[in-house]
Symmetry: C2
Subunit: 213 residues, 2 copies
């Protein structure tokens, strides 16, 4: 029998992999029966996923699996641009070598495992970014960034073509790290902006094609 956090992961993954189609309305009963847990657990998980944008309200009964829109993706990109460079700037001052090392380890790990599932790769990439921001010592800012990532990751699971971008992304991550190591905060910030913009544009273009078809 699934525990709460297991159901949380399972349902999230099932949404990401389109096992529940966008637009579907999921009721407590339905999910409780399908996953073999009580409605109480489903309620908790639904609530969590609702606040993270993995589910949307749907009238007074059920929750709806959200779709994908280029407009939304653009907004998420905009918010990343608004917050992440700021976080990096603040963090740069307090960053320790141990953290830079950790980040480097992460990059190495990603590079070594060529055959990671897209969503795993996405998760690890975010962990890398997250590490860079960590030492900004602004808990609320970090919380907002985590939320933002939740929303973005829903798209990344959808956009399988992320793979085509993986190499460019990895190279930029490495360069970012190098700039931080040598203390060139300004340049690092600019690169980060470029990095986020590129990823955003790629995603938006992908979605626009999708919508056109």
């Amino acid at each position: 029998m699934l525990k709460k956090h297991q159901l949380y992961n399972q349902l999230k993954q099932d949404i990401q992999l389109q096992r529940w189609a966008a637009g579907s309305v999921l009721t407590q009963q339905q999910l409780a029966e399908y996953y073999g847990v009580s409605r109480i657990v489903v309620r908790d998980v639904q609530q969590a996923l609702l606040s993270e944008g993995w589910l949307e309200p749907h009238g007074k009964a059920g929750m709806q699996v959200p779709g994908f829109s280029a407009t939304e993706a653009q907004e998420l990109c905009l918010l990343r641009l608004q917050l992440e460079p700021q976080a990096l700037q603040l963090a740069a001052a307090n960053m320790s070598f141990s953290q830079l090392g950790q980040a480097e380890d992460l990059l190495a790990y990603i590079a070594a495992n060529k055959s990671l599932a897209p969503y795993q790769r996405g998760e690890l990439n975010w962990q890398f970014h997250r590490l860079l921001y960590q030492s900004c010592a602004k808990p609320h800012l970090l919380r907002l960034l985590d939320q933002l990532h939740q929303q973005v990751s829903r798209y990344l699971g959808y956009q399988e073509q992320a793979l085509t971008y993986a190499d460019t992304s990895a190279a930029e991550h490495a360069e970012l790290l190098a700039l931080l190591r040598r203390g060139d905060t300004g340049q690092a910030g600019k690169l980060l902006v470029q990095h986020i913009t590129e990823a955003g544009n790629l995603l938006v273009q992908f979605l626009q094609k999708q919508q056109g078809a």
Copy 2:
């Protein structure tokens, strides 16, 4: 017997008015008994207040009433500065006269009722700000701003002296509206920055004195 949203409001208010002291650990049972509802309801409300920063995790049992810190207030101010001017900028283009009118009505209402409770005044002031940002058409940004306001409002309830600032604040709100009406977006943005900064500084100074004592 209290319904869910009633308990939500009641508990929030009781926290704001220090009926539950900062640092207190509130368990489900305790609250369920005190407010005369079942634990299920308490659980839901606790979860909501947790995600809004009105309660903090406390180990594996109970939730803690958070305290106040100048550092946190400063961070919240920083985030407001990072997001609200952006929202205003985006909204300015699409703002309708009906919305400007609504905002004006709000200001008039606040001005007319001199004897509003501090938290009511705070809530109305936010509604004013919210109205200005509304037409930015960026749901995620607006959601972040609402969250941010939740956190800030906890402080505003604490800082009773907000009243001393009320007049200045009202004047600036009026001027902001005038600038928007005449389409001077740039100047409006600058004034907003000043407005948020002033409020933030006042709050931070208040908290620093408090901490010193």
